[in-house]
Symmetry: C3
Subunit: 158 residues, 3 copies
């Protein structure tokens, strides 16, 4: 018997629409029986941040933390217009019966998608394990990502 097919996605972007695409592909792949991992790095880490919490300790970390949203606060890559775009997209998605980013993340968790935060980004951006949702896996390095992606049938950088 064949092994399960595998899907490996780097989520670099913190844009709402790109994170949406990432979670749609990941949950679809997992629902189809693929072993699926998401590796969250740089701005992508916002998808795993606990709601409300401010991150960062040093001066730069705090400045960055001010811009660093959680999954409900991220805006689209185009037409954000200082937050109106985020609201508009959310409304359009809701009107069309499309599930929200938070719900998609929950579906990913329920389907066993591995949500891996990138250790180096966390260090540079002064984000601690406590800043992330409990369902996030332990932070991993680039070698763990590469090992995973080597075996994968679908590899994407989003």
């Amino acid at each position: 018997m064949n092994e399960a097919k595998k899907c490996s996605i780097v989520v670099f972007s913190g844009d709402m629409d790109k994170q949406f695409a990432a979670f749609i592909i990941a949950t679809t792949a997992a629902a189809m029986g693929m072993e699926t991992s998401m590796f969250f790095t740089f701005w992508g880490l916002q998808a795993l941040k606990k709601k409300g919490l401010k991150t960062g300790k040093g001066f730069f970390g705090r400045m960055l933390g001010f811009m660093f949203k959680d999954i409900e606060g991220v805006g689209p890559s185009k037409m954000n217009f200082g937050g109106i775009g985020r609201w508009m997209f959310k409304k359009m998605m809701k009107d069309k019966g499309v599930t929200s980013l938070v719900e998609l993340r929950q579906t990913a968790i329920d389907l066993g998608v591995k949500l891996q935060p990138c250790q180096m980004s966390m260090e540079v951006m002064e984000i601690t394990k406590e800043d992330l949702i409990d369902e996030a896996a332990d932070p991993v390095g680039a070698a763990a990502y590469v090992l995973d992606a080597q075996q994968a049938d679908i590899t994407l950088f989003i």
Copy 2:
């Protein structure tokens, strides 16, 4: 005998330069005998929009439609300067004998590249099948994309 190699590209971006890169890779792969699919989602759908036409019915859909260009109207990801960048890039490409985005799309069609629009993006953005060029394939869901990408030797998200 081996099966043909496969190439699967998600075109998320509506930036002229990124769409250019996507079509160059797709047409090259197809010309080399690879079975090639492009899956157009979110802003990427602009590559399949009929010229001139305005999209959207509801208030938000129409607002979005105002920003939603066709393949000749998309601008580069950097240095657009309100349209000057688009013109400059087109001129530079023409001067260097590089084919245009519309011609590249036609080459993709001639080479049998599958141009698949994402159904969910179309619903959210209020884009109908009639808004897209006739050569676009029937709209497909994420599961069709994943099935395709699973079998592919090259998988990219652009």
Copy 3:
């Protein structure tokens, strides 16, 4: 015995943070014994530009050259604030003991990562082989990229 696994990365982006991610993945893959190629196209070519040099001969080429930085001059995709972001990120990375982009590129060279500039982008943007660092491979076309990516176990577009 099995062949070495392969990793193929298109570097389209000229953003400091994305180039950083690209080089981290490439050097990690190479250090783990993977045959690794990076294909630099459009804004990504900045990673291979010689320091200081201005590119471009025609009017448009020179205009573009004015915006076309080298690897030490590229800024992050978010929060650049006219250069402050670049400085801030560099400082945060240095404070955390993370290696710089120039050092990462040198590591890539030392590990035998193939640094391939895209010929067509060079022509359109009026960048010559002399504008690029000596360690860059000879410029290649899209067909060379596709051949390489076909064989690769990890394919990414960054």
